[in-house]
Amino acid sequence: MTDFPRQWFDDGSGRPVPPSPPPSTPPSTPEWFDDEAGPLVRLYAMTAGRARPTSEAFDLIAVVEAGEADEGAPPDRSPEHAAILALCRASPSSVADIAADSDLPVGVVRVLLGDLLDDGLIRVSRPVEPAQLPDEHILREVIDGLRAL
């Protein structure tokens, strides 16, 4: 991200504010300047403008695994890709866990996971639809597990 917006505003040092270029956003819209505006790096900047992942595999509870570090790193991917890959390498994680651990929004995580999948760096196990559970002993196990909490 460039730092050009800084010079548009009086920094309190008393130096004159450069007269140009004018902000592309009218000053009446405060969205860039306060906390409520959210991250200054727009989400689509992290995803290179993509809103959809290249794969539909990434349900919130789909489990993502990554190979070992010597299986290679993405050469031209972002720090966010690297962070996500490191999380997956540490242990198999669900998409929701990855989003929470990386503090990135789920939509961004999905796009970045799609890249890593395209790179052949991760594997993803889709969750089983409950109606297709192979047998009911899984649910029995869940109930017993809950009782044991």
Binding site: R42, E71, A96, A100, P105, V106, R126
Partner: protein, 213 residues
């Protein structure tokens, strides 16, 4: 189970036994939704049975890559980050239950559609002082055939109503369980989950016998 993996080979001639398995283990993750009106105790509930964490999701991740000159419109459609609670209960390696607290406000229905897909079932938390707050959730799960139970969160010091009264006030199907709970208590919250999983199990096995989806 679908599995996508790298075909890269290890150049170092590692012993085959040391390789990671080509196919991931049988990871089974199940999803339960915790729904109900604003302030009914969803976050408390999820937090009392699992380690709760916030999940950042977004209202709209706009497609900025298409026409660059459309950026002004993209700015207007700026994303809103919505925090959603989720918790995980891990029973063993490869078997985990995820709880998702559904966003309370109506404008986030679009998030429900994704959450509900593949969900085992839902617990609808109800507050008898504001029973109508859970109508939308009840309606939503009924329409989609998602197994759900109603858990009345009995806030301390308030009169509790018999389950039958709650059932008729909500016009529930006779088969839909209504249970009382205290969302702050782990033991109570887990009983709700157990009741829900048992209810879901009955429904799914009945559907399998019927041959209906």
């Amino acid at each position: 189970m679908d599995s996508v993996h790298s075909d890269q080979r290890h150049p170092d001639g590692r012993h085959p036994g040391e390789r990671r398995p080509e196919r991931p283990g049988p990871y089974l993750s199940l999803k339960i939704l915790v729904a109900g009106g604003f302030g009914v105790g969803k976050t408390t509930f999820v937090g009392s049975v699992s380690e709760i964490r916030p999940l950042r999701t977004e209202e709209q991740l706009t497609e900025a890559g298409r026409p660059v000159d459309d950026l002004e419109g993209v700015e207007r459609k700026t994303t809103t980050t919505v925090a959603m609670d989720f918790g995980r209960i891990t029973f063993r390696d490869g078997l985990a239950l995820y709880l998702f607290g559904t966003p309370g406000q109506d404008r986030f229905w679009f998030l429900w559609d994704e959450l509900v897909s593949g969900a085992l079932g839902a617990a609808v938390l109800a507050d008898t002082r504001r029973l109508e707050d859970c109508f939308p959730a009840v309606d939503y799960f009924e329409r989609r055939g998602i197994p759900f139970i109603v858990a009345v969160n009995c806030f301390a010091g308030f009169h509790t109503y018999p389950a039958d009264e709650v059932r008729s006030a909500l016009d529930l199907d006779p088969g839909t369980p209504v249970v009382m709970c205290d969302a702050r208590e782990q033991g109570s919250a887990k009983e709700v989950l157990i009741a829900l999983v048992e209810h879901a199990r009955n429904i799914y096995s009945a559907r399998q016998e019927d041959g209906s989806p």
